[in-house]
Amino acid sequence: MDKNIYDKQIRPGVIAVRALIYTVTAAVVTLVVAIIVYLIIKGLPYINWELLSTAPSRLNETYGIAPMIINTLYIVLITLVVSIPLGIGTAIYLAEYSKPGKIISAFRFAIEILAGIPSIVYGLFGLAFFVNTLRIGSGSGSMLSGALTCALIVLPTMIRTTEEALLQVNPTYREAAFSLGASKLHIIRTILLPCALPGIVVAVILSIGRIVSESAALLYTAGVDYTMPTNFAKHIVEPGAGLTVQLYLYATEGGAPDWVPYAMAAILMILVFVINLTANIIAGLFKKKVSVK
């Protein structure tokens, strides 16, 4: 047969690169699935209502985790209440009001540095400042001290992601609103923030993930108490271990059968999943108001 110049060719390089990409992807997916399946198998069978609804008792040798779930939720909520206004406010300033200059670039640089500091360093600062100097709540740490420390940890991500989202909004909207005599604040409120909302929700989701998984900083600042909180408001200034801190304590100091940390790990995973899902649904609801199609 004659060889035609348009015949299909075999390109070994392309095949090799494609094989490599597929392999790497498959490896990563397998790893993630393996971790999830492993935790589910080891932890899920032990999750029952008693575990979820009681406090641990050394005397009765029960290992309920209700206080830890409550503590984690407290810290997540308080952190968000503190960090969302601060983060979004700063991002709006940086994206819409700040004029480029030395001070602003120094400020941006500082934010980037903050994002890279290990959380244990924040924990140390939180201990020295919120717990020992300001004496917020109990001397062994409190929900509020822990949450304030977490707010410091998530602020850089919150600011950068929100700023990015604001800058991505089509600049012609700003121009159009200006030409209609609208003030900057009104444009931010009615056009920019709604358009940037999906990005802001992403920032919040990332922050929640970071807070739920935080243990080092909270060990210093939120205490290790594992009793059931009795007063909704007072608990803000009481100490308490979240899921990750208690998990860390069980894993390093023992005091509980092997299945307990696994059950807690499975619950952490489910918690993060539920939080992400909720955030996405909320974002979807808002997105409908500012429709693109």
């Binding site: 121009e175 159009a176 609103a177 200006f178 030409s179 209609l180 003030s183 500012v290 429709s291």
Partner: protein
């Protein structure tokens, strides 16, 4: 005196001067076209007229722009209120990602119109922009679902909704197809009965078709400003003649 008069207007982007000492009178209820090659300062000049250049950093203006017997560059003037009276339509249609209704109602609502008046404003503005019949059944649909030409007429309606005195159009048809362009040109002929229109255009046929007066800009200078007929058939300046007869640009 015209509705807008500029006196010895200079504009600088940093050190670079973009407009040189332009004095010009824009007449009420006429269409004035600004023509000239790219970078000649015509768009910049247009944006001077409603202080849209304010949002560009390092942009400095000297001289006067007199509108309604006041210098709009005087320090006690609120530029937002100027823009309410001197509206602007841009090169690319830029409706907000909101419903058709909310796009039109956006500015009147902000400037304090009552909810009850809004329906009326939306309808009359869309009618004035010759868009009402095409969208009256889907006012709650997103403005992004409209075609480019419809979006541009929506932007014109959005400007009209503020009941301005002057409408500035920065190459408002250059991103549109010929039929949409024709519709907008047609619309302008009607709009000038109520409003004063200033357009920037690259399209000399467009200027000659619709403008009453035409101004020719070159390198930041106002070279010649006269009736459109004179500019295109009997220009006094050699550079104007070269430009309108297609020798450069």
């Amino acid at each position: 005196m015209g509705i807008i008069t500029t006196r010895n207007l200079n504009l600088y982007y940093g050190d670079k001067q973009a407009i040189n000492n332009v004095s010009m009178e824009i007449e009420k209820n006429e269409i004035t076209a600004l023509i000239g090659p790219s970078g000649c300062g015509k768009s910049t000049f247009l944006r001077v007229l409603n202080r849209m250049n304010d949002i560009i950093p390092n942009c400095k203006t000297t001289g006067e722009v007199i509108f309604d017997n006041i210098n709009i560059y005087s320090s006690k003037i609120d530029p937002m209120l100027i823009r309410k009276k001197i509206g602007m339509v841009f090169q690319k249609p830029n409706p907000f990602p909101l419903s058709i209704y909310d796009n039109i109602a956006y500015a009147p609502k902000y400037h304090g119109k009552k909810r009850a008046e809004l329906d009326e404003i939306v309808e009359s503005s869309l009618k004035a922009a010759a868009l009402w019949d095409e969208v009256k059944d889907r006012l709650k649909k997103s403005a992004m679902s409209l075609s480019g030409g419809q979006q541009q007429r929506l932007c014109i309606a959005r400007t009209i909704a503020l009941n301005p005195e002057v409408i500035l159009m920065d190459e408002a048809t250059s991103a549109l197809d010929p039929i949409s362009t024709y519709k907008i040109e047609d619309l302008l002929a009607t709009l000038k009965k109520t409003y004063t229109v200033v357009i920037v255009t690259h399209n000399m046929q467009q200027a000659s078709r619709i403008a009453d007066k035409t101004a020719f800009f070159l390198l930041g200078d106002l070279i010649e400003y006269d009736t459109t007929e004179n500019i295109f058939t009997n220009p006094k300046n050699k550079q104007t003649l070269d430009y309108v007869s297609g020798h450069f640009g």
